[in-house]
């Protein structure tokens, strides 16, 4: 059972790294932010699997914090960061 | 007054259950728990004043079953679209006037549509909801209407006539 968990954790990790290509390619800032969304799903899945593999249930708390941080970073980006840039563009 | 007491009781039970799950059933941090539960209760009353709706558990169960069924069906469709050599995408934006009253009902509708594969809420104004769909050839209207009915049933809200 544990070997399957390990295999799947590595598989999802590889998926996550391939998806980072999208972050480098862009083209818009929003495409790059999709990485934050990705970490709140793939990252959480990897952490859940790791919690079982390592038998360290504390990793479940890490998974919780991951998805919370993804929300906060996303909201800050959408409501603040991207907006300021827009205003800068208008002024220049 | 009685309904206020009942709301308080239900909400504190809910938050206690969440706290109990978070600390994995241990009993040694009840003091922090008590503070967190009270804070959560106060916050919930500020953000979501009572007496706006009455939660129905059978409605909730119906909604959940419907939601997971649709989400599975649509997820498979979008996954197939992604894997196919020629992803046959026909995205478009639809406007729909929600029949649900403003507030919690509409927020739940927007978020549900975001989680159902094939639909993405783009904007929500006072009168309209803008939905981005992956395949414009499928009728989205009937789906949205039936989700609305499920949500209205869950929160015992009245639907406006469209």
């Amino acid at each position: 059972m544990n070997s399957l968990n390990q295999l799947l954790a590595v598989f999802i990790l590889v998926n996550l790294s391939i998806a980072l290509v999208r972050v480098t390619r862009g083209p818009t800032t929003a495409d790059r932010l999709l990485a934050a969304l990705l970490f709140s799903t793939s990252g959480v899945a990897i952490l859940l699997l790791l919690a079982y593999i390592e038998e360290a249930l504390i990793l479940l708390d890490v998974a919780l914090i991951f998805s919370l941080l993804a929300v906060i970073s996303g909201v800050v980006f959408a409501q603040r960061a991207w907006r300021t840039k827009e205003e800068k563009n208008e002024h220049s | 007054m009685i309904s206020l007491l009942r709301t308080t009781l239900y909400r504190s039970m809910f938050f206690t259950a969440v706290w109990w799950i978070l600390i994995e059933g241990k009993t040694d941090s009840w003091f922090v728990g008590l503070i967190s539960i009270s804070l959560a209760l106060v916050t919930s009353f500020i953000l979501l004043p009572p007496n706006q709706f009455r939660f129905s558990f059978t409605g909730f169960a119906h909604f959940l079953i419907y939601f997971f069924g649709l989400s599975l069906k649509g997820g498979i469709a979008v996954a197939c679209m992604a894997i196919r050599p020629n992803p046959d995408l026909h995205p478009n934006i639809f406007t729909i006037t929600p029949r649900l009253p403003e507030g919690l009902g509409r927020a739940i509708l927007t978020n549900t549509l975001n989680l159902l594969p094939g639909t993405l809420s783009v904007d929500l104004t006072l009168s309209s909801l803008y939905i981005h769909v992956l395949d414009e050839r499928q009728s989205i209207e009937t789906e949205v209407r039936s989700i609305e009915e499920k949500i209205a049933h869950m929160l015992r809200l009245e639907l406006k006539k469209s």
Binding site: V21, A30, T41 | I21, G25, G75, P91, D123
Partner: protein, 104 residues
């Protein structure tokens, strides 16, 4: 092999397939809105299947409930985030790909 383990394996493998499909969609779809479709939905289904698969392996009931709680939090998170990103992209005037007529 017990029936619980079998269920767990099936759910975990299906979840991994959904993750793969989500990644492929993210790389291939043409604009930010369609990519949001691939990410917020297909990946969430992947996470859902993975967590149900792990629930079957849970040593205690509380652990199973906690995994479901984490999944629900992740669901709310991606739903809110995708709405915010889509709305902001719309406000900044990123035109949806290949939409011949839009009503905004």
């Amino acid at each position: 092999m017990s029936i619980l383990e079998l269920c767990s394996i099936v759910f975990l493998v299906v979840g991994a397939i959904f993750f793969l499909a989500g990644t492929i969609g993210l790389l291939r779809f043409p604009d930010v809105y369609t990519r949001l479709h691939a990410l917020a939905k297909v990946d969430n289904l992947g996470l859902g299947f993975t967590s149900i698969g792990l629930v079957f392996q849970a040593p205690e009931l509380v652990i199973a409930l906690k995994i479901i709680l984490i999944w629900l939090l992740a669901l709310v998170a991606s739903s809110t985030l995708s709405f915010l990103i889509a709305r902001r992209a719309m406000k900044r005037g990123i035109i949806p790909w290949r939409a011949k007529e839009h009503t905004i």
